[in-house]
Every structure is written in structure tokens, then in C-alpha cells.
Symmetry: C2
Subunit: 334 residues, 2 copies
Amino acid sequence: MARESSRPGITDVAKLAGVSLSTVSRAMNGNPTVDPALAERVQAAAAELGYTANPVARSLVLGRTQTVAVVIPDLENPTFQAILRGLSRAATADGYHVLVADSREDLDEEHALARATRLRTDGVILCAPRMLERELRELLPALSPAVVVNRGPQTSTPVVGADYGSGMREIVDHLTSLGHRRLVYLAGATRSVTHRARQDAIAAAVSRVDGLEVEEITAGVDFDSGTAVADRVLASGATAVIAYNDLVAMGLLSALTVRRVEVPGQLSVTGFDDIPFAAYTSPPLTTAAVPAVELGTAAWAAMHAQLTGGDPTPALTLTPTLVVRGSTAAPRED
Amino acid sequence: MARESSRPGITDVAKLAGVSLSTVSRAMNGNPTVDPALAERVQAAAAELGYTANPVARSLVLGRTQTVAVVIPDLENPTFQAILRGLSRAATADGYHVLVADSREDLDEEHALARATRLRTDGVILCAPRMLERELRELLPALSPAVVVNRGPQTSTPVVGADYGSGMREIVDHLTSLGHRRLVYLAGATRSVTHRARQDAIAAAVSRVDGLEVEEITAGVDFDSGTAVADRVLASGATAVIAYNDLVAMGLLSALTVRRVEVPGQLSVTGFDDIPFAAYTSPPLTTAAVPAVELGTAAWAAMHAQLTGGDPTPALTLTPTLVVRGSTAAPRED
DNA sequence: CTCTCCCTGTAGAACGTTTTCTCGTAGTAT
DNA sequence: ATACTACGAGAAAACGTTCTACAGGGAGAG
């Protein structure tokens, strides 16, 4: 008699269609053991009542939520935004929902956050470049199924990532082939895995190219880090700067403009990632384009494969492509 | 005997602590009618087993999921990214999770998407600038509790938004006080509500300022829309351009640079929103700063109030602030 | 000393589904 | 004509939790 206003339940549909609630459930789920005519009657009753199965109750009995969690260290970072975008769209296309968890770079919180979100989802896509390898190995089993983005290979968790070493190699090659021999590398978060990959690539280049010198200056990962180190960069006497990412490069460009330093005339500058605005700085930024949206799509594919018991996706590595724009040129003759 | 590998349930904790399962539930939820000593024993048992209450089962019985959905038309748009960021962080701080749904500007999908996400969440924050008012009114009751972002006042749904009219007025005043009299307004999505607000503000300015002429050119909402209309802008003979948003302005700036048109020397350009990169274009963009992160925070506050039965938040309007940078100047003397 | 009240712990219903198991009926083959 | 098979539909258990009744026991008061 009561509960008029409440959402219609499966029993309401059953009552209206004059069948048992189990028949409704079967009819709604397209179970072939139900008479077509009856199934249609049930569908009609459901439509009349505007009935939709309660996903929470469904999740409880089925043990799956049709939802995955994405743990992201910083929603402000364009790269993570792009990964989220690609992932979200791919997951939506497969009928899944996406829970987004911004860990705000809080390393302690990250751990708990990932575990907590896992409880209400079917899997976790983890972007945690700064987390210690030890912690990660301890965390991953509790998260399974999981997908790790931009980390080294894991024991039993699929990994998708970009080959930062390759991108960095292309950048260095580009600069050296232009004639640069004295470079500065603006390092990002030194704990991050993607930093290590770049560092190694630079070291390799130094031992490969004759007379190449690369000075490392620790900057950071954001715009302000780039502006902050401008003076140290100028003092170094280098002819080209390899910034940790586009944000740092753009910050540096901005500071150089203020100081009336010509780019690329007096100094060449490169970024990394090819974020949406990298093409629109002045001069436009030469950078290594990381296919971040595709990274998100691939991460979903790896998750989806685990969820549906498909083939275990092997580690997938996408290769950044060098995009030469206006911020690099041959060094000025002395 | 079986189920060794399964997550520990409340009964496992009860068994270990030597109490009934309902006692465990009460102890875990801090119910004061349980003996402190016993409560502690239960907590210890739970900790030993690494027990955490299954949120899905919890949601089913409690009727709430501790999750809200955010429907966003385009995850690529910096403004929505900022709203999401502010919202996500505020919600997380209050112990809520955020489900993100990218409607990809698909107006038909948007409707169904909002309804679907509502079923697995406690409320929906709706960003749908293009949805027809009629549709919105029909949709909102099904979504309740809901919060609408950047739309006109609603019957019984809290609204948070920015005063686009005010921002536009400031921009026009800024340009006219610099001496500009012939302006171009690059219109965005003509169906969008935020477009209408700007249009009205411009119309008001035209009737207020003596000799002011504003030509409207329909462009779009993204970078490419700005580049595409560059020639029409130049042909118009205007001395200043009011772009629909920063993206359009940046696209225009880029096209103007290619055409060797000096900004602000030959042409002043303004944006809207103050997205993160607006400060770093060349010249830096004069724009009306929309506090998008705060918009997200406010949207959460309005949702949280409804969820906790607090005071019904009245419609909240944040005022954009004019940020004068290098892209505007007095018109060149003829 | 006994009665009553209160405090603490236990059993069980409820949340809304899915799904297994069982039963009934109808059709076919012997 | 009877028995067996097959198929469709209903009853009931299960998912893992919360919370309302309810019962039992101890202590304080009359």
C-alpha cells in the first residue's frame, strides 16, 4: 500500500505482468528459457513502469560492478587528463563506468585510495609514477585485476606505457644533428620512473656522441619549475635545453621571453609529451609526442581483457614521435 | 573449509572475535551500545584479517553509495577539467567517490547517461550547457538530488554558475575604455546558455556606449574555430575581437601570427575563462577569469548539502574577474 | 530480598537482484 | 495408453551487510 514514490522493483513488474519475479529477471536478461511471448509481456510491463534493474543489488549478487577505478596523481596534469579521456571513452563504449580518484600526489594516500576504490569497482588502473617499486609490488596483488600505466614491467600485472627512453633519444639526436654539443637537462621528479628512463637515454647519448656534454639541473614538473631555473640555464652556457616535459619547457620559454632571450636563436628548447598547447606557444615547441589518449585506450583494453577473461595482454609500449617545431634550430655561430 | 582465498567477510571477523556478526557490524560502525573492551577486540580481529566492509552490500542496505556522478560534455575542455578537479577534490575530502561520465557532446546520449549513472550513485552533477531547457526540466526530477552547473535558475535544483554576462560586460568596458568602437564577437555554440548570456551583455553594451558597433561571427568553441575565422575577422575592419573563449582566442592568435598581424598593435584580442595556458600565449591573453575550480567546489557543496539534508543551497553565482594581459591595447591611430 | 529497569548481546528480517533446484505440464515414443 | 523426456516457470537460497526486535543478565532501589 505504501512505497508509491519508490522506484519500481522487480516485484512490481512481476505483479503487473502476472508472473513470478524470477521470470522477470530471466526475461530482462534475455535468458532463452523464457517463452518469447511472455518475455515480450514482461518487457512491456517493465517499460510501462519505467523499470530498470537496481545496479547495486545486481552488483552484490553478480560480484561485479561494471565500474573501474582510475587512480591519477594529479588531475591538473594534461597527460593524465588525456589518459583519463582515452580510458573513459573506451570504457564507456564497452558499457563500463569510470571512477576517478585524484591522489593529489599524496604518496601515502595513494595506497589507501587505490585499495578503497578497488572495493567498489572491478579493477584499478593505476597511474603512480612516484610510488616505490617495493610498495607497488605489495599493492598490486590486492588490486588485481589491475593495469599499471607508465611503469616498468610487473610480475603479473599488465603494463602500458610510453617508451620515454626512445623519445628522449630522438630529442637528443635531433639536437646533436643540429650541431648542439652543450645541453642542459631539466630533471623532473627524481623519484619518478619516467625520469629514470630519460636520464638513461641521455647517458647513452653522451657516451655515443663525440664531445657531447649534458648538465643536469633539477627543476620540477610544472610551469613554475621552468620559470624558476631560467637564470641557471642561461648561466650554464648551454646552447639547447631539454626540459623534463612541455610544462617545464613552456615555463622556461616564458621566462626567456621576459629576459629577451631569443628562442631558438640564442637557445633551443625542447619539451616532452606534446600536450595540447605545445603547438601554440611562441615559438611552437619541439617535443616528443606521447600518445596519451591512446595510452588510456590501451590501458582500458588491457583491463577489459582481464575482466572478460580474454587473452592476457602482454606489456604494451607506445613509442613517442618527435615533433619538430619552431623552438629548436642550429646553435648560433660563436 | 573452502573459500580460503576470498576476501574475509563479517562472519569471519565474528568467528575470530567470538561474537555474533551483528556485534561486529555495530562495533565497526562505532555504535555506542557496544562494550568498549569488546569493540576493541572486534577491531583487532578485523585488523588481523584485513577486513573491510563490502561497500556494495553496504550500499544495498543503506540505500546510498557514497558516490556521485559528474556528467561532462567534453573531457577535453579545460574548463570542465577544472570543474571536475575542484569537485573531485572536495568530494574526496568528504569521503565521497566520483564517477565521471563524458557525454562527448552527444545530446541524446547525455540524457540516458545521466539517468544511468544516477542509478549507481547518490546524485548527479550535471554540466550540460547545450541541453534544451525543456529536456532539462524533464530530466532533473529523475536525477534528484542533482546540481546543475552553468545554467539558468531551476525550479527545485540547486544551480551553481558563473556570471558570464558580468564578465562580458567587463571585457567590453575594457575595450571601449581603450577606445575601441568597432568590435567582432566570435560566437560559440549558439544553442549554449552561456552564449546567450554573453550576447545579451554585448547587446546591452551596444545600447549603452555611444558609437559602439559589434559584428557577430559564428565561430565555435575550440582552437580550430579560432583559426578558421581569422580572415573574416581581418576583413571586418574591427579593431578588437571578443572571442567566445580562450581556446577560440588562442586559435585566432595563432592564425594572426601566421598572417603577421600584430597583436595588440593592429588588433586586440580577448578570451574568456582564463584557462591555465591563457597566461602563456604570446602575447598573454586578456580574458575574464572564470573560477572553474571553485565552481566545482561549490557544486560539491550544493550536492553535499542535499545529501546530508542540510540547508538547501540557494543558486550560487560566481563572478568572473577581468584579467588584463598583453593581448589588448588602444587601437592604432588611423 | 525481590522486583524492575537498563544495558549488552543475539537472532532474524530486510535491501533487490540472480540463479539453482524443483515441479508441473505437454508432447512423443513405445 | 502409459511412461519418459524436455522445456518453461515458480520457490527459495544466496550475495554481505545493517538494524530492529527481543532476550538475558546484572545492578540498584524499594
